[in-house]
Each structure stands twice: as structure tokens, then as C-alpha cells.
Symmetry: none
Subunit: 179 residues, 6 copies
């Protein structure tokens, strides 16, 4: 059952994440194709997922939205690590493997970036991506993020230390692009 | 009812342990063919099993997975006693007697060992086995664990003090084997 | 619904006591033919029985089992007052009057005595019986307990002070008998 | 500083145990000549002794008195394990080694036995003594206690299992002796 | 009063931070020459400082040490944001303005970096510095840290958005340097 | 200030650990010559030491004693990880560096081993030592412990993974030696 729409896109709607979405979330977060690139590494049972839902999703420190295409949940996107004095936050997302290559991630990110600058008044948005995550790197670069750094050996994934690329996007850059 | 898969094997899937699995867990843990070799010795009613579920399974200090073959739960496997500064943990498992001799324990252990070294970045995994538990000793040796010690008279089982064998496996040994 | 078996006997099974057993327990514990010989003397309503269940049965300080014959609960048996430094405990049981004279008490006690010495590694088991409780005295003597003392006037039952007989059984005696 | 006298004897006074007595209690209870025959076996630091003081001495379930001779604390004596429905309790005491052989234990016990029958209306008093504790056995027999049982191998002390003798004294016996 | 030494250096000692150090900590943390470069911007009264002390210093998630020269506290240094699965942490420090230019920061950082790699078994240490903080940039580069990124406009200080430089040091680099 | 003696030796006394000993304990536990061989690696301020005191020393799950020579505290010794069903525990100790080479560790360990077998009725005592800790290995072998295993790469100390040797001593072995 679709919940209330918070942000509208062309093909997607972004809505608040509800308890009824826990099954979808828990299934995806235990899928190695999702937890690997997120830097997570442990299983989550329903109680643990619910605890995450209550602490993070129902908390006040982050903005979390479900990405919906044709009434079907396809992923989540959010802003977190808010630093209001410096007007910055970090952005993160994931799309379920079966819905990849549809441009959903790009469309959702564009919509949330616009919301972050226009509604939350942020000055800067940052994002982290694994060196091996080509699709995410392209998504961020398409939207206008610049690579600001390479944190070497920052996470251990699939038997090796991996570099993490940091990307940043400033309000004035984004507004210039949007014109 | 199948839950979300966390790790995939050839014949098995390993998934988070859910509240709905409590009946299976409680039945098995009260079976003397399982509690004997585990070094446990007391009955657990449903409330006590639930308390174990909430403290241990839903907690953050261990990784616990249900071993599933053809949608049927056949046992559990887990990593616990994590010492992150030394990057080590202990591994334990049990398979229900009616599913013995199928190689499920070996397949599940191989999958979790790979996960422990590749995803959790562990350097060392230890395991304890009773001297009389031939199948478990062979399982560990097959996977490449070395017997590191014999703790004499360490547990009282079936009227006698029994020796407990300690096994260890280091990351570099395992990687050498896997090539 | 039968619960998981913890210990098996010829005719009986001994299993953990569950919340679903509370009705049976409460009915029996209010029956004067049971509370008299147990030295209890007060009524227990359902809440009080539940409180006993949560504190004693679901606790860690005792081992309590339901005695089941042909899927029918017939009584309970347990070990309590554990003194681990001296490896001793006290044993107690009751069988519902309608199931007396079937030898259920004896079979359950033999099974638990074996469990206490073989699995819990106890050195000594004690038991208390009222002077007038001939069946219980014979049960304990049949199993090999020795009368160690007569505590005179130790309990007030049916208008008089009664003597309580103390029985004890040591591991080495029991093993000698079992050969 | 002497506290308020509760019971008077010829040479002794028995008074409530105060916080100021904790140093004396803690010193004695860690002395192996006292904890051995009491069946205790672990050290108690000041915090643990205070916890005992608050739970046991300051609680309502026991009567505990300091034995004082010439303003000097020499030991403690108490009644505990009250069973009011059967009007019985257990008696215990210890005297510091440097004050042995003065008859303090006997005098204190006579005074408390009289108090138990005359003021508390008890019908029966029990006491436990180790088989090797000749002085205590003689003390109890002098006062009129009868040996009611020998619990074999009931405590582990100094490398062996020891028997514990149970003694009992009934009100009518004691009154007959006192005439 | 000097507290117990935890790590020794040539001129400095590093010791645990005690309640008695709160006055020194609070004085420094309210000094704009310290809170500016730390990216902090709010006053802390004694209670707030104490709360920080109890949550952060007395907690288990960080390692915090007082830098002491000739029995005089001159600053603090610590490791935090531990990610044990990836064996990494962030390092931070400050030296009171009156003790600048003595090389205390460099000596303390070298000592803690050695401790982090040798005793905590870390693989990577990260540190953040403001673009305008030349002394800190030189300190980190002297020790062998590499600049890994420039997070543009990441903090608002003195009327402008400032860039934050991220530095990283890997275990193998540091060991190579130390030879 | 001397506290109550719990166990006596020739040159040493072993007494309960009191709050007044916290300064000595905290100084020693932050000394790298002590925390290294103990496998600890983090600083402890007074509050953290006090928390350890309240949870561990004042708790019921371990026996902890201060080693005193000529009224001077020289170290601590204790038994922990009790498994009463199997009657076993682990033993650990440390002696302050300035009091090394006096045989204090050996004398204290002999006294506690005797106490463990004679008073606590243990069947087995285990101990862990780092491969590089020659004095401790000799101490344990002198008392009669046997090396039961080598846990390879079990702890990270001073830049390398180290092996941990496990030693065990059984009651019957010790009694045979003592004759």
C-alpha cells in the first residue's frame, strides 16, 4: 500500500519509510550485493532491523526516504551526519539489484540534492563510494559531485583493504549547473 | 517461511535467526544429542530460549546464522567471543541429528570461514571440540584447522571429565589452501 | 501440545516446564493431597503461580522438569538448592494423585538422579520426606538413598508437628549400584 | 563504643550489630580459622562485607547479635531460616580465635536459646556443625541439643568432603532441662 | 599531582585524563585559539565539561591521554572513531597556546602513532586539519601522513567556509619509515 | 594500611582488595611492563579503575586477592572464569616490576593453587601466558602446570601477532606432587 508522497520525481516518488517496509528493507540489507558496497558486514534479523528503524528512521537526526517506482519500493535514500553550524550533510542510497540500470538512483539523488539545497538550505553535500563501485561514481559525477579525496585502505571488503572515494557538491556549483 | 538470505552456499543458505525459529531452536537445544557435545547441561523452556534470543542473537557481540537446506532449518552456526584488537573470534555450530551425515556442517563452516576472513577481516578463528566428537574433529581438519591444544578434563559429560581439543585457523593458511 | 524432550525414560519423558503447563501446575499445587506432603500450606492463584513460574522455573538456580506419560503431564521433578562448591543439590518431586501407583515417581527420580551425577557432575543429592509419606520413603530407598537423619517436629501438618526424614545419596554409592 | 544492650548475660552482653562493627566482622570473616568451620570459602572486601551487613543484618529475616565481653566484641550469634508456620529457626555463631576457651560461645548460645523459646515462641531450633568441630559439638550437647542426623559429604573443606552433623532442640526438652 | 604514566616519551609523558584535570581542560577548550582550529564553537561550563569527561573520557570507545611535560599538562591527544572491522581510527590533539613551538605535538603524535600500530594493531590512522592550520599540516607530514583529500567548505570559521584537509597514514608506510 | 588477611604464606599475605588499593592498582595497570604481558592495551583513569573494582572485585564471579610482602602491596592474584559444573577456573596474576625476581609470584600462586583445590574443591586450573613471558612460563611449570596448547597468533603485542600458551593443572597431579 503506497504511503504519503513526500517528494515527487518524473518516474519516482520518495516517501517516508514505514514499519510495513521493514520486510523489504531487511531482505535487501541482508543481500551481499547491497551490504558489501555499503561497507556493512553483519546479518540483521527482524528485531535488529526494527531497532535500526526506531533509532535511525524514526529519529530526528536524519532524513530517510523510500524510493518507489510504480508503487514498488526499489531502494532508499537519505541525508545524515548533519552539521547544521556548517550547513552540511552526507548523502547515501541503495537500489535493489533487480532494479538496477533503470536510472532510479540518479533520479532519486537529483531530487534529494535539490531538496537539500532548496528546502534544507545546505551549503555542502558529501558522499562516500568504494573505489570499485563504478555505477555510483558515475552517478555522482553525472549530478556534479567532484572527487575530493581518496581515503586509502579505509574498509576491508572481499578479502582486501579498499579505498574509499569522497565526493562533495557545493550549493553554488549545483545552482550554476541547474541553469 | 523463508527469511532473507545473508550468505549463499551450494546447497545451503545461511540467514539471520528470527523469532519464528525459536520453536526449532528450543526443540534442538533440549535434545541430549545436541546439548551434550555443546557442553550444555540444563533444560531451556520457551521463556529462557527467548531470553537467549534477545540477549545473544539480537545483540551486537556475535554473528549468528540459521543453516537452511531446501527451505528447511537444519542447524545454526555463529562467530562469537570477538576480540577485535587481535582480530580473532571463536566459531561454533550444531546440526540437528536427523540432518547429520549430509555434509551440511562442513559446507556451512566453509562459507562462514570465508565470510570471517573476507568480510570481517579476521586474522584467526578458533573452535573447541570434545575429544569424543569425531565428526566435528574431521570437519575442522578438513577445512584446514590445526589442533593447537588439548585442555585436559575441561568438561564433565556423561559421568566423566572429558578433554576439549582447541583448533585454530589463520588467515594466511586458509588463503593458501583456497588457491 | 508436547514440548521438546529433555530427558528420555522408558515410559516417561521429562521436558522443560512451559507457560502452557501453568493450568495443570496450579490445579495440582492447590490440591491438599499434594501441598500437604510438600510442606506447603497456602493457596496460589494464577498470578501467584505465574510469578513462581517466572522466578523459579525460568530462573537459573534450579532444574525443573515436567513428567509426561503418553503425552499427559503427570507431575514435576527438580533439583534445587545447588551448592556448586560442594557439588550438591536437593531433589524434589510430586505426582498428581490420579497417576499414583504407576511407578512414575520412581522412574522420573532414577532418570534425574542419573542426569545429576552424569551430566551435572554432582557428588551428593539430598531429599526430604515426611515421616508419614511411606511411598516417598520407599521410592528413595529403592533408588539407593540412605536415611541420614530425623529432624524432629520440623513441620506442622494436620494439627501436629511432624518429623522430617532427610535422605542422602552419594555419587560413588550410586555408581556401585548401577553396575 | 558500646551500643545498646539487647540481651544480658552473666559475663556477656548481646547487642545489635552496627556499621562501626564492620571492621571487626570483616577481619574475622577473612580469618581461615573462622571461615573454614562456617563452610565459607571466599574473601570479602569492605564493600562486600557492607553489602552483607545491609542485606542480612539490616534485613528483617534474621536476628543477629554481637557478643560482647567487657566492652570487647568477641563474636556474633544469630537465628535465621525462620519458618514461622512451623515455628522453627536455625542457630549459628562464631567466636574470634583469641577469645576461645572462655565459654563465651556456650553462654551466648544459652542466652539466645532462652530468648528464642521465651520471646520468639519457637518450638524448635536446629544447628549445623562440621564433624571435626569438637568444641561446637560439645557446646550444643551441653545445652541439650540432640544429634538428629549426619549429612554425609555435605561440604568440601581442606581437600576432603566432610560430614555435617545436624542438631535439634525442642521447646519442651529445653524447658524440662531448665527446671 | 602526577597520575600514572601510560606511555613514555623523551620529554613527555602521556597519562590517563583524570577528574583533577577538568579545570585545565575546561580552561583550554574555551580558549578560541583552541576551539577554532578544532572546529568547535560553543562555550562549555564545568558541568558540560564533566559530562564530556564521563561520556567520552571514561567511556570505552576512545583512547584519550593528557600530554605532560615536566609534570605540567600541556595538551591532550586521542584516538577515536574506531572502526575495528577495518582496523582504523582517527587521531586528534591540541596543545595549549602557551606551550606551542616546543615540538610537544609532534612528540606526542609520534608516540601515539607507534602505540596505535604496535599495541592496537591498527592498519590506518586518519586526521583532519583546517587549511589554515600550517603547524598541524607540517606536524602530520613530518610524521609521514599523506594528504588524501580536500573537503571544500566543510566548516564555517571566522566568517567564512573553510576547507578541511584529510590525512592518512598506513601501517606499512609507517614501519618502512621507522626502519 | 593493612587489611584483614585471607590466606597466609611464608613471606606473603594475601588479602581482599579494598578501595584504598585503587591508587596502587591504577598506577600498575597503566604501566606498559604490566599491561603488555596481560594482553591489555588501553589507559585506565581513576573512574574506569573504580568501575572495574565495583564490577569485578566486589562481584561474586571471581576471587581476587592483593599480594602483600612486609605490609607492602606487590601485586594481585585471582581466580576467574569459574565453571562450577566442571569445577574449573582460570588463574591470573601480576607483580609490580620493582618487586620482580623475589619469588613473590611463585609463592602467591602456590598458595592460591592450594586454596583452589582444598577449599574451592576445583578439579582443574588453567592459565594463559604469552610465548615471550619466560618468567611466567617457568613459574607455572615449577608449580606443576603442563603446557596444553599453543594458540597461534592469539594476541597483537608490540607490532606482531603473538602465540599464547595455555597451561593446565589437575587436582590429582597437584596432590601427587605435594606428597
Amino acid at each position: 500500500m503506497p504511503g504519503p508522497v513526500f517528494l515527487d520525481g518524473d518516474r519516482l516518488t520518495l516517501r517516508p519509510i514505514e514499519e510495513a517496509d521493514l520486510e523489504f528493507l531487511q531482505t535487501q540489507i541482508n543481500d551481499s550485493r547491497i551490504w558489501g558496497p555499503l561497507g556493512r558486514s553483519k546479518p540483521l534479523n527482524r528485531e535488529q532491523e526494527r531497532e535500526f528503524f526506531e533509532n535511525r528512521i524514526c529519529g530526528d537526526d536524519s532524513v530517510d526516504l523510500l524510493i518507489v517506482a510504480d508503487s514498488t519500493p526499489v531502494g532508499t535514500i537519505g541525508l545524515f551526519e548533519f552539521d547544521w553550524e556548517s550547513q552540511k550533510a552526507e548523502l547515501g542510497y541503495w537500489v535493489a539489484p533487480e532494479h538496477h540500470d533503470q536510472g532510479y538512483g540518479t533520479e532519486a539523488t537529483e531530487r534529494v540534492v535539490r531538496y537539500a539545497f532548496d528546502q534544507l538550505g545546505l551549503h555542502r553535500i558529501a558522499a562516500r563510494v568504494f573505489e570499485f563501485n563504478e555505477p555510483s561514481k558515475q552517478l555522482l559525477e553525472t549530478i556534479g559531485f567532484s572527487r575530493e579525496g581518496v581515503h586509502r585502505d579505509a574498509e576491508f571488503v572481499d578479502g582486501e583493504y579498499r579505498d574509499v572515494y569522497w565526493y562533495g557538491l557545493l550549493e553554488e556549483e549545483w545552482r550554476a549547473r541547474s541553469e
